[in-house]
């Protein structure tokens, strides 16, 4: 626990000798800032890079599947953990982006990098949807539990709407929305290349692409939450009234965080759709909408590293539980959420950091 010690929570003045970008990546809004943390981080990345050489194809594809979801969790950490706005809307933006990718790529194909255009349009649509919904929410002064209710309702309305689009009249060009059965037939992510396009089916190349994207996203978000913008988000979470009385238009900051976080959910949506070449309303329904909340709450919503690690661990547990029956898995996930909320409301990882910090302090006091 030395790399995530209690002192990490007590940020004092920044070290003036440190370059700006390093100060941001190592800032007080993120646990894990010492050399030891970065050594472990580098070793973890190294292990992830060599993993496909030792694992079978199914495990590599399955890990890539896990990576798809982490962007959505990191986005929720930004919206809920850092900015304090509980959103159940992540899967709506996940679905919106996934369907957009499907519509674009089914209609225009995978040549000339059009799947990348599909990714960009999918993420763009989720950002646009989040901007519209977020504007209504934040500029309408909807907050707290009502924010959760409205975002959940929006998600369920969208999922229900998509579930009734089974008829042939529900098509956009050649792309059938497919109702409850979902949309299929979209091509995988395809990278244009001189010697011929590279289609990234669930395999090693897709794994590496997702790993690289995940590292970039994680480090980028670390910079964001430790920037002036991140400081204001945390201030809004802690005391919105005070933040406003320091001259910040808190609605604008909340809206920007919501759009970025929802855009990341959209990124998860397009990557998942490209990975499995399938998207359906069940990816957005009540159970699906609750899962990101559980991943983020269990790991520790107020920290990106805790969210990332927590999400991967909970996804692994959840997948293994589904072997015994998906409904049991949901029940156990619910229980896990209740236990964490009651006993470690900040999540497992920050809770453990605090516990070991207190233990270490007591030990130092005794000696």
């Amino acid at each position: 626990m030395g790399m995530l010690q209690r002192e990490d929570l007590k940020a004092s003045r920044p070290d003036g000798r440190m370059p700006g970008w390093l100060r941001l990546i190592n800032g007080p809004q993120t646990l894990g800032r010492g050399p030891l943390f970065w050594i472990v981080f580098a070793l973890t990345i190294g292990a992830a890079v060599v993993y496909p050489a030792f694992a079978d194809a199914w495990s590599v594809g399955n890990t890539a599947y896990f990576f798809c979801w982490v962007f959505m969790a990191l986005g929720l950490s930004l919206i809920w953990g850092y900015a304090g706005s509980l959103s159940f809307g992540q899967t709506a933006f996940f679905g919106l982006a996934g369907y957009t990718y499907g519509v674009v790529t089914i209609n225009f194909g995978a040549a000339y990098g059009l799947t990348i255009v599909g990714v960009l349009l999918g993420v763009g649509m989720s950002c646009l949807g989040a901007a519209v919904l977020g504007y209504i929410l934040f500029y309408g002064r909807i907050s707290g539990v009502f924010l959760g209710i409205v975002t959940l309702s929006t998600t369920l309305v969208f999922a229900t709407f998509m579930a009734q689009t089974a008829g042939s009249q529900w098509a956009i060009g050649d792309a059938r929305l497919g109702g409850d059965n979902g949309m299929t037939g979209m091509p995988p992510l395809t990278i244009p290349w001189a010697g011929g396009d590279i289609a990234l089916y669930s395999g090693v190349p897709l794994y590496y692409l997702l790993l690289a994207m995940l590292v970039i996203c994680y480090l980028g978000l670390r910079v964001l939450v430790n920037s002036r913008f991140g400081n204001v988000l945390v201030a809004i979470r802690e005391n919105p009234h005070r933040a406003e009385m320091l001259g910040y238009d808190i609605r604008r900051y909340q809206l920007i965080a919501f759009v970025i976080g929802s855009g990341l959910a959209g990124l998860s949506g397009v990557l998942y759709t490209a990975w499995g070449q399938y998207i359906s309303p069940s990816n957005m329904d009540l159970a699906a909408a609750a899962l990101p909340i559980i991943w983020v709450a269990v790991g520790g919503r107020k920290d990106l590293t805790a969210t990332l690690v927590g999400t991967l661990v909970v996804l692994g547990i959840f997948q293994n539980l589904t072997i015994f029956g998906s409904y049991y898995a949901f029940v156990i996930m619910g229980l896990l959420l209740v236990i964490v909320v009651v006993f470690l409301p900040e999540g497992l990882i920050p809770g453990l950091v605090k516990f070991f910090g207190r233990f270490r302090k007591r030990k130092e006091g005794m000696s």
């Binding site: 940020a11 945390v234 009385m245």
Partner: protein
């Protein structure tokens, strides 16, 4: 030159009048204390000035500029700062981070760092820069909030019961801080119940009662006013 002025300010809540024909004016560089029995409308008046309530009618001017329609954060940007009765700090962040959030809206780089250092020294919290704000004593939390408010170098500082819950020593030190800020040119409007403290800092006192300005003058004039003594000892409704 007036720093704050209100004209025929009214505020009604479902027919209940909480501010009535308030024509208030204070000069630049003044320390004004706002007193009155519970339910007199002091907090409502503060909220009207801060933009947390919109007046039913009337106008508010800050340095002769109309701010009635401005939102709270826009008023703060104009040069108004506030310290709340219950310390409005970010408990889970360090003292330094609290100050940084207050200052980063106005300053960058080295000038931000030196402004934070200056404000921390002023409120005697330099040694506590790395502590979590929520772990400070009540008095220190009050000072931290004052530090956050003044680090933005406002022209008008609003203080809502700045000494609530403080020990006599902390109260005296807070009074010194307010006078020091005023000497540097900051105008201060404070809601306060502690008449000893009012005597220590106020240039002028305004008495509110039932949402109206009841009396105004120096502390000696107010203390000599029998009507003021009567409303304080009377049976005014408690609604604040």
């Amino acid at each position: 030159m007036t720093i704050l002025r209100t004209e025929k300010l009214y505020k009604h809540f479902d027919g209940v009048k909480v501010a009535q024909d308030v024509n208030f004016s204070m000069e630049h560089g003044e320390i004004r204390c706002l007193i009155g029995p519970n339910g007199a409308g002091k907090s409502t008046f503060f909220k009207l000035v801060l933009g947390e309530h919109q007046p039913s009618s009337g106008e508010i001017y800050f340095s002769d500029q109309k701010i009635t329609k401005l939102r709270s954060f826009e008023r703060v940007k104009q040069g108004i700062a506030v310290k709340f009765q219950v310390p409005g700090i970010f408990s889970e962040l360090s003292v330094w981070q609290n100050m940084q959030i207050a200052v980063q809206n106005h300053l960058h780089g080295d000038s931000m760092t030196s402004a934070i250092d200056k404000a921390l020294a002023f409120v005697r919290l330099t040694d506590k820069a790395g502590e979590l704000a929520g772990e400070l004593s009540h008095g220190e939390q009050q000072w931290l909030e004052i530090g956050m408010a003044v680090s933005t170098e406002p022209r008008l500082l609003l203080l809502d019961e700045p000494t609530a819950g403080m020990t006599p020593e902390e109260t005296a030190r807070t009074g010194e801080m307010i006078q020091e800020l005023n000497r540097k040119g900051m105008s201060i409007l404070a809601v306060e119940h502690d008449m000893e403290f009012v005597r220590q800092i106020a240039h002028k006192v305004t008495v509110l009662n039932f949402g109206e300005i009841f009396a105004e003058g120096t502390i000696n004039e107010i203390e000599a006013n029998e009507e003021v003594a009567r409303i304080y000892l009377g049976t005014a409704d408690d609604d604040e």
